[in-house]
């Protein structure tokens, strides 16, 4: 036990001396190293900076040398240009010939001296720039070009540019790759051309002296003095490399690439932008891939103006610059090593002194740990170490005391643990048994498992279970796997009774029987020999009791030797017997249940039903086999699915509703629904079900039966159809009609929308039947039915009463009775028209007409029968009126319809007779100056007098007459605009014309207007179309397109009645509208009504923000005008200024006002 807290002493691997020593040494070495490194770096930086500055300086010098080289070329050119021979070359005759020969000789010697020159020429300003003297370097030789080989060069800038210079000026070309064809070695070489004008014998510029220089040669010379580590760069003023260590990167622009110095050496862009003259760089050169330092300088070059320059640069690898720092590195290294060694020595010394007493302490503690013996510690210093030594001694004593206590407690703990483990093992055994029970095992498996479980808990025991037979007289073998077979066979079926062994007696008495020694106990007299044979010494038997106290069998424990039970053994045998009791009872109950289930299944199968169960989410948890006959799917396919997954969608709501009801009421339900079977066929199914719950009342699911009722359903439907539909036409019959009519009346009363009943009778049907026979008559009725159905709207009902009588129910008509009457009439007209078209009966064309009686639901107090009677009466009136017509039951309605028909006729007549006139109402600005007018239509009827648009426009729209009327209005308005062009006062007036939706939507409306405007030769900007908001809201895209097309012509738009309807800013923003017209309803109360005021202010603000003009209509008082003005509205129309008047009055008023204004002025 002491091992538990004994610590094995260990050898110290790295002592404190080593650790402390290393730590201090590392610190010392680091400090020395860092100081050395810093000194080294700082010095290095200074050196690099200095190198950069020196390179800039060198670059400057290099630049000067480059300039000097160019200047030297210029000097050569100028020198030759100034010679008399050069002048004479451009003269004539023999002198010129001689001069040319001499110049050629001089050029040859010049080329011989300067290997960088490859072509020297004198070019004439005459004859297209013909060369006069030309010497080329051609490989290693020099070649004088003459005669027909001389070329014309005026097309090159070095000629035409130089000829524009004054004598003594020099032209430097760009540095470029020479591609000029000719026999010279400068082909495709970087070239600089230096040219200067040459005066002829008359002193005027007569030609050009040109020297071509190979730039590579110049640079090779500049490079020659440099050590090979130095790299030279030349770029033009845009930064393109002309000379660079990597020749592939030069003259990129010549073949479309750009290789720029500022891409490699970023700081150089300061020179290119003229922010700096020189710059030092330090970067990784992409050519050598090493770090380089360098300098770049701007070198003025080229034109005399001085604005042109080149950039020269020089770089050198950093390592090369830093070669001088090698000694510095060496010294730093020596110093660092010296300091480091000293630091290490010091560290070791300090560590050793500090650690010696600690070591002694360690030795003492280790010895205690190994031997448990107290050792005096030899540290008596008065510092922390001395204190530590004393504390360690005390601690050792305490530890010894504690150890003794711990040992005692430990022993007790061990016993408790052993007990608990046994309990747990029993619990485990019990749970295992219960699990076996739950898992539906056979009783023998369970019993055997109990026996084995007990034997496992107590290996010294052998157990046996015997079961009482049905008569309660004999014990039968239950389970005894540990006992020999012959023994088991011998006692199987043994009778129970007093003295019939331990078990027989226990079963008989219902009491526990403890036989400690079989050989001596009187109960075992008959079985003693058997027990000896089986090697059994003791047998304790406990009766197994049911929950009702009835003996079910016995549980026995045997020992090989005589054995007395302890208290725990008694508890064990009791528990085991109880467990077996539970198992047997459970099994019996289960068997009873299975039997009952099977019985139920058989019964339902016999009834053609299947059984089902779903969980609370309506997912199948069980379906019986019979379901295949109903749904066409096997149970395996259905499990995990919901019944709804196999139903047509429209049946699902009803099913769900029924289930909800059943759950809510905790009541059974019955419903019928359709299934889509595996083959796709539709089956009808009747389902009975009931929800079921757990003991807490929580819903677990539903279960019930289902049954295929397809055949029954079909029969029912056939019967139903016979009862409600007319067999000949398939239309609803009188019975269904009355039902529908009742429903229509109810729904109309609820929705307040009107409905109507039409009674239709075919004229002369009897004659047809009599002459051509019933078969033909039936054909006609069928066709009439079809035509009627095609006339009505969805939701309306067409029914056949019998014979040749049909009825139509119209629902959902207007709320206004007169409007509803109009709708009914229109539909009636449509039916009249449809039924009057020829029929084809067999091969015979046949004509027939109907008479129609109509009545409306409107009073809502008539029943269906009453309504039918009214419609019937109206139909007879129609017959009387000459057939093929429609009559209303209500005479007022009939009058109304008649009046409308008259008005329509009058309107057509009026249009033809020219009874319409345009009136004009003036529109003015805030200074009351006329801006234009709105044209308003008036109908001057010969009898009725003046008719306002409100009375006839709606009818015109309904009948389509609005189109010719609208055309007339536009035509008249345009003619008026044309007429106004003659008058100085009216020339600029804009005429606003109202356009109806029907008119606007004509496909050729844009074409019409364009034609109108062109024909009248008026400015389209003077024509303004007034559109209502409702027009804009329908068919928006089409509307916008039309408006855009019109707007393109130049026609303006005003949005009429603005604010009264549903206005979407979104639309307005997208439309080409010029003006908003504030609805007069707002203007009327603007002075008194706060909300109107606010609305008007908002409209105006919005219009202004959309950059739209605003006009207010219906302005009648000065107060209204002032209020509008104060809100920013400056255009008005209304009685305050003038009412709408005929054109003669309008023009006269215009004249009058103009005169008045003149006088005022």
């Amino acid at each position: 036990m002491t091992n538990l807290i004994r610590i094995q002493p260990e050898r110290v691997k790295f002592g404190i001396v080593v650790k402390l020593g290393i730590l201090l040494a590392v610190f010392g070495v680091l400090a020395a190293g860092l100081t050395g490194y810093y000194t080294y770096q700082a010095t290095r930086e200074i050196l690099v900076k200095k190198a950069g500055e020196e390179l800039v300086q060198s670059t400057r010098i290099m630049g000067r040398r480059f300039s000097n080289s160019a200047d030297a070329v210029a000097r050569d050119a100028l020198m030759f240009a100034g010679t008399p021979d050069a002048r004479d070359v451009f003269g004539g005759g023999q002198t010129a010939e001689v001069a040319r020969l001499r110049m050629a000789a001089q050029f040859r010697s010049l080329l011989a001296q300067h290997s960088e020159y490859y072509q020297v020429r004198l070019i004439s300003a005459q004859n297209n720039g013909i060369e006069r003297v030309r010497v080329d370097r051609d490989g290693s030789s020099l070649k004088t070009v003459s005669g027909a080989d001389l070329q014309e060069k005026m097309q090159y800038p070095y000629v035409y540019e130089t000829l524009r210079l004054a004598e003594g000026d020099v032209h430097y070309s760009r540095i470029f790759i020479n591609r000029e064809a000719g026999a010279h070695s400068g082909q495709k070489k970087p070239t600089l051309q230096v040219a200067t004008p040459v005066a002829g014998p008359d002193g005027k510029v007569a030609g050009v002296m040109v020297i071509n220089v190979n730039l590579n040669k110049i640079f090779a010379r500049l490079n020659a003095d440099l050590r090979s580590e130095y790299q030279l760069y030349l770029t033009n003023q845009a930064g393109d490399f002309l000379v660079a260590p990597d020749s592939a990167k030069t003259f990129g622009f010549d073949y479309g690439r750009r290789y720029l110095v500022q891409d490699t050496f970023k700081p150089v862009s300061a020179i290119i932008d003229k922010r700096a003259e020189t710059i030092a760089v330090r970067t990784v050169s992409d050519h050598q891939a090493v770090e380089v330092v360098g300098g770049f300088a701007r070198i003025p070059f080229g034109h005399m103006s001085g604005s042109d320059f080149v950039i020269i640069g020089m770089t050198v690898p950093l390592d090369f610059v830093l070669a001088e720092t090698a000694a510095l590195t060496r010294n730093s290294r020596h110093i660092v090593i010296g300091f480091s060694l000293a630091a290490i020595l010091m560290s070791i010394l300090v560590a050793f002194l500090f650690v010696r007493p600690l070591k002694r302490l360690v030795v003492a503690v280790q010895r205690f740990s190994e031997t448990r013996a107290l050792t005096p510690i030899d540290v008596d210093s008065r510092d922390e170490l001395g204190l530590l030594a004393k504390s360690v001694s005390q601690m050792q004593e305490h530890i010894l005391g504690h150890l003794a206590d711990l040992n005692k407690q430990n022993k007790k703990l061990q016993q408790e643990i052993a007990e608990r483990e046994r309990m747990e093992r029993y619990e485990q055994f019990r749970n295992d048994t219960l699990e076996l029970l739950a898992a539906n095992n056979t009783i023998s498996v369970i019993l055997e498992s109990i026996v084995r479980g007990v034997e496992r808990l107590h290996p010294e025991m052998l157990c046996s279970i015997l079961l009482l037979d049905k008569e309660g007289k004999h014990l039968l073998k239950g389970a005894a796997p540990g006992l020999p077979d012959f023994y088991n066979a011998a006692i199987d079926g043994a009778a129970i009774g007093m003295g019939e062994g331990s078990c027989g007696t226990a079963a008989f008495t219902g009491e526990r029987v403890i036989v400690e020694d079989i050989q001596t106990h009187p109960y075992w007299v008959n079985y003693k020999a058997l027990a000896v044979q089986a090697g059994l010494g003791a047998c304790w038997s406990q009766p197994i009791l049911s929950s009702a106290g009835k003996v079910l069998g016995t549980f026995a424990i045997y020992h090989h030797e005589a054995h007395r039970p302890e208290e725990s053994d008694i508890a064990l045998i009791e528990q085991a017997a109880r467990l077996v009791g539970i198992a047997i009872e459970h099994k019996q109950a289960e068997d009873a249940l299975l039997y009952s289930e099977q019985r139920f299944r058989d019964v339902s199968d016999a009834a053609g039903e299947y059984l089902w169960e779903v969980d609370e989410n309506s997912v199948y948890t069980y379906v019986s086999r019979r379901v295949v006959d109903v749904k066409g799917y096997t149970p395996e396919e259905l499990l995990g699915q919901t019944p709804m997954a196999f139903m047509p969608g429209e049946d699902i709501p009803l099913v769900q509703e029924s289930i909800h009801q059943a759950i809510a009421n905790k009541a059974p339900f019955r419903l019928q629904h359709r299934d889509i079977t595996r083959s796709g066929a539709i089956h009808w199914e009747e389902v009975n079900g009931v929800p079921f719950y757990d003991e807490n009342g929580k819903l677990l699911g539903l279960r019930g039966t289902g049954m295929n009722i397809t055949e029954r359903k079909q029969t029912e439907e056939a019967i139903n159809s016979l009862a409600f539909y007319d067999a000949l036409t398939g239309l609803p019959n009188r019975r269904l009609l009355m039902d529908r009519l009742l429903r229509a009346l109810t729904s109309s009363a609820r929705s307040k929308r009107e409905g109507a009943l039409l009674f239709i009778d075919l004229d002369n049907f009897k004659t047809l039947n009599d002459t051509l026979g019933h078969d033909v008559g039936d054909l006609l009725l069928q066709q009439v039915a079809l035509r009627l159905q095609s006339c009505v709207r969805e939701g309306d009902t067409v029914a056949r009463l019998g014979g040749d009588e049909f009825v139509v129910i119209l629902e959902d008509l207007s709320e206004q009775v007169m409007d509803a009457a109009t709708q009914t009439e229109m539909l009636g007209e449509a039916i009249l028209h449809a039924l009057s078209q020829p029929y084809l009966l067999g091969s015979q064309p046949y004509r027939n007409t109907p008479s129609i009686g109509a009545t409306l639901f409107y009073s809502h107090d008539q029943g269906p029968e009453e309504l039918m009677k009214q419609a019937d009466i109206a139909m007879y009136q129609a017959k009387k009126a000459g057939r093929n017509t429609l009559r209303f039951f209500d005479p007022r309605m009939q009058d109304n319809i008649n009046a409308r028909a008259q008005l329509e006729a009058a309107l057509r007549n009026g249009l033809a007779a020219g009874e319409f006139q345009l009136y004009y109402q003036i529109q003015v600005d805030d200074a009351q100056q006329p801006l234009g007018a709105e044209a308003l239509i008036r109908w001057i009827h010969p009898e009725r007098g003046m008719v306002l648009p409100a009375e006839f426009i709606f009818l015109a729209e309904e009948t389509g007459l609005i189109l010719p009327i609208g055309t007339w209005v536009l035509e008249t308005a345009c003619a008026q605009l044309k007429a106004w062009q003659q008058s100085e006062l009216a020339r600029e007036l804009v005429l606003a014309v109202n356009v109806s939706a029907k008119q606007f939507r004509q496909p050729d409306f844009v074409v019409q207007l364009r034609e109108l405007v062109e024909r009248h030769a008026i400015s389209p900007a003077l024509l303004k179309l007034e559109l209502t908001e409702s027009l804009l809201l329908d068919d928006t895209e089409e509307t916008i397109a039309t408006m855009n097309d019109l707007s393109e012509i130049g026609i303006q738009f005003s949005l009429d009645d603005f604010g009264a309807g549903y206005s979407s800013l979104q639309y307005i923003k997208r439309l080409p509208i010029d003006q908003l017209k504030i609805d007069q309803s707002f203007v009327r109360d603007i002075v008194v009504d706060g909300s109107d005021k606010a609305i008007v202010r908002t409209i105006i603000a919005m219009a202004h923000s959309l950059d739209l003009n605003v006009i207010a209509e219906g302005v009648e008082t000065e107060a209204q005008r002032l209020s509008l003005l104060s809100k920013g509205c400056t255009h008005y129309q209304g009685y305050l200024f003038s009412k709408p008047v005929p054109i003669t009055q309008f023009d006269a008023a215009l004249q009058h006002d103009a005169l008045k204004n003149k006088k005022i002025k």
Binding site: A148, Q155, Y160, A181, Y255, R257
Partner: protein, 345 residues
């Protein structure tokens, strides 16, 4: 264990870095004219396909030939070339057939560019070698102050009254075609053997009448502004007109009665293309509405998706064709431009 974990992570990181490095290494090499592959449009393509695009621009047809023929097309993946120039690239095997399936945007091209068989030179043996991208006709630009009546013929470029005030274009092929047209030859692309001398002489005359020959539109504009130029052969068409107008030149543009040569630039894939699919993706990309439109807006070039406003219906346009002998024209032109006298031809 711990250090293994760290090491493992480090290794993973390195592997990832390397692999992205490898992916980023895929490069599309485009050889095109200035403005055909602007940096922002290239950048968008690079983002979309996670590749790098190297754009090389050229200013001359002959320069392009040099760039492509030297490496037999190995140095580039895709290039923009006109239909006439294309022929020598097909002949030499530098241009390879294109898989139209990879270029669905051809569906939105104008009908005349979709009917590839109708454009001379684009197809051979039923294989498509190029996709039209942009075109431009070469009319005549003139200083409005110098002409009361607009010139109506290219022959005006030879008119001595304008000596030293004419700019022509630095190109062997076009100049021979131009001279042939001015001389009234029937087919400017097929100069008969018997006429070469006459055409060469005519070009010497042109050389004598011009101030100089330009290469790029920018150079032409600079020369125009500095040298009192009256006439300018508009090799870059409307693009050049816009540039001149922007610089303040008072110029106008006409298609002379001889008709205007017009080039049709197409994209073609080289046999050196490392990934032809990527090259085709590039072509498809340039036919997106936004990219093609940018070409028109920025460069003044017509694209193949939108109709070009401005050309008169009666104007005669002659699509460039392959000429009878490119090398011969180039060799002759080198001598003409260098200033050889007429008697040497």
């Amino acid at each position: 264990m711990h250090s293994n974990f760290i090491f493992g992570r480090l290794f993973l990181l390195i592997v990832l870095l390397c692999s992205t490095q490898v992916q980023a290494e895929e490069v599309l090499r485009v050889l095109a004219w200035p403005g055909y592959a602007d940096a922002d449009l290239v950048h968008a393509f690079e983002q979309r396909y996670r590749v790098r695009v190297d754009v090389t621009t050229i200013n001359l047809d002959d320069e392009m030939w040099e760039r492509l023929s030297v490496g037999k097309g190995q140095d580039f993946d895709v290039f923009a070339v006109n239909t006439a120039e294309l022929q020598r690239y097909i002949d030499s095997g530098i241009s390879i057939p294109i898989n139209l399936v990879n270029i669905p945007n051809t569906a939105s091209q104008l009908p005349r560019f979709r009917d590839l068989a109708a454009i001379a030179g684009i197809m051979r043996q039923n294989k498509v070698y190029a996709i039209p991208y942009t075109y431009s006709e070469m009319g005549l630009i003139y200083d409005r102050k110098a002409f009361a009546v607009p010139p109506d013929s290219f022959t005006i470029m030879w008119d001595k009254r304008y000596k030293g005030r004419v700019l022509a274009y630095q190109s062997s092929e076009h100049n021979f075609s131009l001279a042939a047209m001015a001389l009234g030859l029937k087919n400017p692309f097929q100069i008969p053997e018997s006429e070469f001398r006459r055409v060469s002489h005519s070009l010497v005359e042109l050389r004598r009448n011009v101030l100089t020959f330009y290469s790029s539109p920018e150079e032409a504009t600079a020369l125009f502004m500095r040298n009192h130029i009256a006439l300018l052969f508009g090799n870059y068409g409307t693009q050049q007109v816009n540039l001149l107008k922007k610089s303040g030149a008072d110029i106008a543009y006409v298609i002379p009665k001889e008709g205007a040569l017009a080039w049709l630039d197409c994209w073609s894939v080289t046999r050196g293309a490392k990934n032809p699919g990527l090259a085709e993706a590039w072509i498809n990309y340039t036919l997106e509405a936004a990219v093609s439109h940018a070409l028109t807006v920025r460069q003044g070039l017509s694209n193949t998706l939108e109709e070009t406003p401005g050309l008169r219906k009666t104007d005669k346009i002659i699509w460039l064709q392959r000429v009878e002998n490119t090398d011969r024209r180039a060799a002759l032109w080198d001598r003409i431009i260098a200033g050889d006298l007429p008697e040497k031809f």
